[in-house]
């Protein structure tokens, strides 16, 4: 369709030229068709520019923020559950810092969910999982508080409430948060595609109009043997400038968007890794609480850690992150080491528990043992958190640069197009005047 319009625009001046009876009439028709061509460029340029700037702007602001919200929401929820579960394993009343961490997690989760809900456009399908979290989170906290009340009285019924809360979290709330996260990741990818594609319509129409102008100028020069019309020179220069503006802006923005996409891909992989190790951490505590030996529940730990490390220990989500951002190899290597350390500590926990040393196993998991699994996990989590932060900041910088590369893309080439239209009228109009 685009090429059809272009061909028409090229063909029309010649046909009209031949069909018209007098030279001024023919010139007027040429001028009219070139003006229409320039105006089409203006319209197409404005439409594409607005869509593109919006997409990049949205990816830098709304969608990227929602993606970060979704990841943070998931992490807070998973951390709340892991915290309350490991607090229970240690026995006794929860220490104040554990309680504070849970409260902080719940507050952050509620805050992120509200924030995300406020930023979603009306009718966005992501509203469904956000609503699910809004409905179920109070139920979850209610069950946890009931469990706490029973624990405080020394009654074992608390464990049944805690178990129910944890099941609600793992079977309903976390999957909803994951759904939101995946929806936003997909939306972000779509925004990149819209922001970085080649502007075929503008370039083809622009090239066609430019060809029409050049063609007309060449024919006129042959017919009248006069120097090139100033007006037509201005038209050509304006059109070339508009097209160059487009090419440069899109190439620069595309470059920046590629960088941004790499950082957001790395952040997504690292978010996935952080979530997987949190689930493994919950699993570690749950196995100790259930006190039913390892067995099938231990499988959950192994699966999650393998997702992050890969089957051979050198792949998985961490390798995905390095593939996206090769510069992060050192940071990611440190994370890999921390995870292997934690896995080793976890294996010692399992050996202790399976060997009847339940109390030592609990001490390792709850962080009472400085060489234990709890402390190793904290190190791993901190390393992941800082790596994710670095990728998010780099992402924001790149999207900001892409955004500024597109500054003026909507009005700039459009004004040049209008200038070209004006120059066509002025330039050819002067020739027409010579026939009076």
């Amino acid at each position: 369709m685009t090429t059809g319009v272009a061909a028409d625009t090229v063909g029309r001046p010649r046909r009209l030229l031949r069909a018209a009876s007098t030279t001024p009439q023919r010139l007027r028709r040429v001028a009219a068709s070139l003006v229409v061509g320039c105006l089409v460029i203006v319209v197409v340029s404005v439409l594409d520019g607005v869509a593109r700037t919006d997409a990049v702007h949205a990816s830098g602001t709304r969608i990227a923020v929602l993606t970060a919200d979704a990841a943070e929401l998931y992490r807070s929820l998973a951390d709340a559950d892991a915290t309350v579960t490991s607090g229970y394993v240690s026995g006794g009343l929860e220490p104040a810092p554990v309680r504070a961490r849970y409260d902080e997690d719940i507050a952050r989760a509620a805050d992120r969910a509200m924030h995300a809900a406020g930023r979603l456009p009306v009718g966005d399908p992501a509203a469904v999982p956000v609503a699910m979290i809004g409905i179920q989170l109070p139920v979850y906290t209610g069950l946890v508080e009931t469990a706490r009340a029973h624990n405080r009285l020394g009654l074992p019924l608390g464990q049944s409430y805690l178990d129910r809360a944890s099941r609600l979290m793992r079977s309903t709330i976390l999957p909803a948060a994951e759904e939101l996260r995946q929806m936003q990741t997909a939306a972000l990818a779509a925004a990149y595609r819209r922001g970085g594609t080649i502007p075929f319509a503008v370039l083809l129409i622009g090239a066609a109009v430019l060809a029409g102008v050049v063609d007309h100028a060449v024919l006129e020069r042959r017919r009248t043997n006069r120097v090139v019309n100033i007006g037509l020179l201005v038209v050509g220069a304006a059109l070339v400038a508009a097209l160059l503006w487009w090419v440069v802006a899109v190439v620069v923005a595309g470059n920046r968007l590629d960088g941004a996409r790499q950082h957001s891909d790395a952040a997504t992989a690292l978010d996935g890794a952080r979530i997987a190790v949190l689930q493994a951490r919950s699993n570690e505590s749950l196995v100790l609480i259930a006190r039913s030996g390892g067995g099938s529940s231990e499988q959950g730990f192994t699966t999650q850690v393998e997702r992050v490390l890969g089957p051979g220990g050198d792949g998985g989500l961490l390798a995905d992150a390095v593939r996206s951002v090769p510069d992060s190899a050192v940071r990611i290597g440190a994370i890999r080491t921390a995870l292997v350390d934690w896995r080793d500590a976890h294996r010692r926990v399992r050996e202790l528990d399976d060997g009847g040393q339940y109390r030592l196993a609990v001490a390792s998991v709850t962080g009472a043992d400085p060489a234990g699994s709890g402390v190793a996990f904290e190190r791993l989590d901190a390393a992941l958190a800082s790596a994710i932060d670095i990728e998010r900041v780099a992402f924001t910088v790149d999207v900001g640069r892409a955004d500024s590369a597109l500054t003026g893309l909507t009005p700039g080439p459009a004004v040049l197009g209008l200038l070209a239209a004006g120059a066509v009228t002025a330039g050819i109009g002067r020739r027409v005047g010579e026939y009076r």
Partner: protein, 319 residues
């Protein structure tokens, strides 16, 4: 009888068998009062020849050896060599076998039995690795050798005896019903059409399903799960053995135990049929716990809320 998928006929049959055992012990020992009509199913199917009555346990061979001197080659020597007894228990039954959330330790009358056995082997009641088992997993844990023994409100039935060797009974219990204090129900018959919860794969489940009064029986992995359902108003009653219900009632003053005993049964320690020496050893430990009063002291300590405190069952052996 330990699995839900066992068909109804087998269920009827086993109720009949349990009742047969009960009446046998009533006439033989004379220590179990015979109040309350037995929950006879309306149309019991013809008895299958494989499982008609429970058998008695193995007679202990004199006193237990002194701790630390288990006979070479015995199952106890293997346990002693390992350094710990592996016991299948529960951690959700208040007063019977539960995790004290303040200390993180397991406690209760069943746990005391485990500790007595550990003390007899090691001279140290704490040389125990506890493995928490769902009601429905107890027989399998013994079959797979995951645990040395199970002390987890384990009722002796002839069905289970095909896979498990039981010790002599250490406690007599009867199945009753727990309802909210505001409930008008005083007998199980008042709960016709209502949702009544019990643990999956338990003998109490079989008894409830056999009652011809149209109960809507809900079975969950553990009795505490039933209690949560009761507190959330999703079931009308919980039915289990009186000692277990006493533990639930003690956690929620807004509940009460009502009705006549629906079935009478005996708790014993479950072990592998392949370890008769361990069974005789445990019976000797129980024998001593009965005679020196330590079993009664433990029951008095944990189960004084029950009136009367359940009595240790009389030991009977098949030699």
């Amino acid at each position: 009888m330990t699995n839900v998928n066992v068909g109804r006929p087998v269920g009827y049959l086993c109720v009949a068998a349990a009742l047969a055992l009960g009446s046998l012990l009533v006439t033989g020992g004379g220590t179990v009062p015979s109040d309350g009509p037995p929950p006879t199913p309306s149309n019991p199917p013809a008895a299958a020849p494989s499982c008609t009555q429970t058998r008695e346990s193995l007679r202990p061979t004199g006193l237990t050896p002194a701790p630390g001197t288990m006979p070479a080659g015995s199952t106890m020597a293997v346990i002693a060599g390992r350094g710990r007894l592996i016991a299948g228990v529960d951690q959700g039954k208040y007063l019977v076998g539960y995790r004290n959330p303040i200390t993180g330790e397991l406690e209760g009358s069943d746990i005391d039995v485990v500790r007595q056995i550990a003390a007899a082997i090691f001279g140290d009641p704490n040389r125990v690795q506890f493995v928490v088992l769902n009601i429905a997993d107890r027989v399998r844990a013994i079959e797979r050798g995951q645990v040395d023994l199970v002390v987890n409100t384990f009722t002796v039935t002839c069905e289970r005896q095909q896979k498990v060797e039981f010790s002599s009974a250490y406690m007599t219990v009867s199945q009753r019903v727990l309802v909210p204090t505001g409930s008008g129900a005083t007998e199980i018959e008042n709960l016709t059409g209502a949702r009544v919860c019990t643990s999956l794969g338990s003998t109490t489940e079989v008894v409830l399903r056999a009652l011809p009064i149209g109960l809507d029986v809900v079975s969950l992995p553990g009795i505490p799960d039933c209690m949560v359902e009761l507190q959330r108003g999703r079931v009308a009653a919980v039915s289990s053995d009186d000692v277990i219900l006493a533990g639930l009632a003690a956690q929620d003053p807004q509940t009460k135990v009502v009705g006549r005993p629906l079935a009478r049964s005996f708790y014993a320690v479950g072990m592998s049929p392949g370890a008769p020496d361990l069974v005789r050893f445990v019976n000797a430990v129980l024998e001593r716990a009965r005679s020196d009063g330590s079993l009664a002291v433990s029951d008095q300590r944990w189960l004084r809320a029950l009136n009367p405190v359940p009595q240790p069952a009389p030991a009977r052996y098949r030699d």
